[in-house]
């Protein structure tokens, strides 16, 4: 029987949650016995081949590409999990949500104290994904089945949730596995 497929991605995140996944240490050997990876930064596959059993999303949605990737994950994943505070509440990137978008651009590309930008223009290459008006938590964009909070969620939290799902146990996180920092 084919092993369950897991896909992972980092949207508007820092890859810290992926680092936490690697933090399961030697259990990663056990994990690769249990699953195959579809799209993931771990194997550098860039697009979902699907169908996928479990999709792990790190980061919220800050631009149109994030939304497309997230929608693609939702389309192909039976179970979609928001991993970490950025996916769940926008996290650090959502600190820009209280600042008008135009001011964010001006600070980043024109007036910021460390900006060197002889063109004096905000980059508008069509290759650069358009920023959204604010950073959105994933569950405000698509349906999300489970949330694993933390910045990042601990390796034990990720391990517990993944092994529960892979062995048909209910995902029940103990008190010490639900943390927001």
């Amino acid at each position: 029987m084919a092993k369950p497929k897991v896909a992972t991605t980092s949207l508007c995140g820092c890859f810290g949650c992926h680092m936490s996944l690697l933090d399961i240490d030697e259990r990663i050997l056990e994990l690769v016995q249990l699953i195959d990876f579809d799209r993931s930064p771990i194997n550098d596959i860039k697009s979902i081949e699907g169908p996928v059993d479990i999709g792990l999303i790190e980061g919220g949605c800050c631009n149109e590409e994030n939304v497309k990737v997230l929608q693609d994950f939702r389309k192909h994943c039976k179970i979609l999990i928001s991993v970490g505070d950025c996916a769940i509440n926008g996290g650090i990137p959502a600190m820009r949500n209280m600042v008008p978008l135009e001011e964010c651009y001006e600070e980043a590309f024109l007036n910021g104290p460390t900006v060197v930008n002889p063109s004096g223009k905000v980059p508008d290459d069509e290759e650069i994904p358009l920023l959204l008006d604010q950073v959105y938590p994933c569950h405000e964009v698509v349906k999300v089945d489970y949330h694993l909070p933390g910045c990042p969620p601990s390796a034990d939290t990720l391990w517990e949730a993944l092994t529960a799902l892979l062995t048909d146990r209910p995902v029940e996180l103990s008190y010490e596995l639900v943390k927001y920092d």
Partner: protein, 240 residues
Amino acid sequence: MNNNNQKISLTIDGVEVQGKPGQTILEAAEAAAVYIPRLCWMKNLTAAGSCRVCSVRANGRVQSACTQPIGPGMVVENDTEELRELRRNLIDMLFVEGNHFCMFCEKSGECELQALAYRFGITAPKYPFMFPQRDLDASHPEILVDRNRCILCGRCVRASQELDGKHVFGFVGRGTTKRLAVNAPDNLAQTDAEADDQAVAACPTGSLLVKRVGYAVPVGQRKFDHSPIGSEIENSDVQD
């Protein structure tokens, strides 16, 4: 006329509890080692009954346990699915109404709002985030006011008046524009607030912080890292 030796018998979730005249449901429950979740209530302060997190059913009616006095034969429901959901929803709303970035907050691990969410096992709020515009007052040399984290519980307002004998804090505005104000034309530096005021310590979140303390307690040793808020009450001895 209240005789302190007099007992009032009531039940909380079907278990008989002996309270004293003048006690509220919350106080009688606490003396009986029963924890009723609370946020705006604080020992030695007048109860405000504003956060509603301590809502119980008393003789069938929803009441705030911190303000409702006990009565003979009172039937109190506390730990029911209905009330747990109501409390969860209130906590959810407090999270989405403010800007609570736990990941870098100095109060994380010691914050009562966060601890309540942990106790209720909340992994994500059910309501959409509002990301409101709130301001920050860093004018005072020793105290930071971060209104992003303020849940308008009023503990600092009451503590300043009742424990510090000052009137440093108050509320202005109503509804979504209600905010914590200071008793000065511009900012906290113009008040007589001091770092060791009870009002500062009374803040359940990271809205009032003493400066230059930082992340004093390592992760893993903080108040709510291993045991849920309220477990100290649940593990206490029943008082006579």
